[in-house]
């Protein structure tokens, strides 16, 4: 029978491990076992598994402690199913927070367990297929144009984060920086470019700022504006180009370039901190269209200003 996937069963009960190993092996999985969390961590270091099925109540490292270590020391692509005899509310919340992929109640319903494993493996394969497809394309691009009226309700960082993580192998630090850059560019395009809020408005507390934004969006000229966001990835160089453009009056970027570099002096009311941050985190920062368009180039494989 073809190997459907590599599993690791972790339980201090020899009878549970043996029976699960037999059932899952007969179902076509390659199954390994460990009798405590520390032993399981050692095995994960040495070998790749698709899914780990782990008991919560174990002497030594508990299932939750094991899960926390897995999430801290390995990437999230290792799926973990937790087994437990009871579902205490607090345990459940903690396990979700730590990133458990599923739960199986003891005594184990093996049909449910196999369904859960199959679903996780199917999801993993679909992510891998996506990655394989996108890695074969020379260039991948996406572009969006969003009305100012709908802008505040969308989390573009989350959308792009998910899109990039599912389709490309991105260095986690580079991805974090990329999300900060995107946040800076979009915030600037919306708050400065589109709404034309000044410093006094921007430092208002959240509630007042939201009220101020709503008021601005009632002005027809501002409500008619859109923001365009595009991302292009060059698979050869593993560089991404992010570009954000608003339909506002623009700004004097040349003045900023001449006054802010190379030392971004910090003041409590300083302007241009976001742009300094973009410069600090990207290989290239460019302006066009009288400051209405800002673009950066950044590596997907290395953090900072790296460029191949």
């Amino acid at each position: 029978m073809a190997n459907k996937g590599r599993l690791l069963i972790v339980d201090d009960s020899i009878s549970v491990v043996n029976s699960l190993q037999t059932i899952l092996s007969l179902s076509g999985y390659s199954v390994d076992s460990a009798f405590n969390g520390s032993d399981a961590l050692r095995k994960i270091y040495r070998q790749d598994y698709d899914v780990v099925i782990c008991d919560i109540e174990m002497p030594g490292l508990t299932g939750l402690e094991f899960l926390a270590r897995v999430r801290k020391e390995f990437d999230r692509s290792l799926d973990v199913i937790l087994m437990t005899g009871y579902m205490e509310h607090d345990y459940f919340i903690e396990a979700i927070r730590l990133g458990a992929n599923d739960f199986i109640r003891k005594p184990i319903d093996t049909k449910k367990m196999i369904n859960s494993i199959q679903e996780l493996l199917y999801r993993k394969k679909s992510i891998q297929d996506n990655e394989a497809l996108y890695s074969k394309l020379e260039e991948v691009g996406v572009s969006l144009k969003v009305s100012a009226l709908n802008f505040g309700s969308l989390s573009f960082s989350s959308i792009f984060n998910k899109h990039l993580k599912e389709r490309f192998k991105v260095n986690p630090d580079a991805l974090n920086e990329l999300m900060v850059c995107l946040d800076e560019m979009i915030y600037n395009a919306f708050i400065h470019g589109t709404l034309e809020l000044d410093l006094e408005d921007r430092v208002l507390d959240h509630e007042k700022l939201q009220k101020c934004i709503s008021e601005r969006l009632k002005e027809p000229q501002i409500a008619a504006r859109s923001i365009s966001i595009s991302a292009e990835i060059d698979n050869q160089t593993q560089m991404i180009q992010l570009c954000v453009e608003d339909e506002g009056p623009g700004f004097d970027f040349e003045k900023w370039l001449n006054t802010s570099f190379p030392e971004p002096i910090l003041g409590l009311q300083e302007h241009g901190r976001g742009l300094s941050l973009l410069k600090h985190l990207s290989a290239e920062l460019n302006f066009a269209k009288e400051g209405r368009q800002v673009s950066i180039r950044k590596s997907l494989t290395h953090p900072g200003k790296y460029a191949p």
Binding site: S157, D173, N176, D183, Y187, R202, H206, I265, G274, H280
Partner: protein
């Protein structure tokens, strides 16, 4: 992003996990308001698990700092991730208050 805030005598200990950006900076502002309204004289920021901070988050910290020092308070970053330490150094925040790495 998650923020934990605990008070002990005159010290407010704040731990920020995740990415602090324009979408969640208002949550930081709420916590900083709590510190401002308390008797705390020192805000200890633990940024070890903070993966990055956007300029909106930096702006919130700076505005708080300005008001906090005027009432005799101070900020210390007790731990920070590499990326946050680099960012604070680049923006010269370490000239305003102590920023420790790791």
């Amino acid at each position: 992003m998650n923020i934990e805030l605990n008070f002990s005598e005159n010290i407010a200990a704040m731990k920020i996990d995740g990415i602090l950006n324009s979408e969640n900076a208002h949550l930081l502002q709420e916590k900083l308001n709590e510190v401002m309204q308390s008797d705390a004289k020192l805000l200890e920021l633990d940024l070890l698990d903070c993966r990055n901070i956007s300029s909106t988050g930096i702006g919130k910290i700076l505005l708080f700092y300005k008001d906090f020092i005027s009432k005799g308070g101070d900020i210390e970053v007790v731990r920070s991730s590499n990326s946050v330490y680099e960012l604070f150094s680049m923006l010269k925040l370490n000239q305003l208050f102590t920023v420790n790495l790791g």
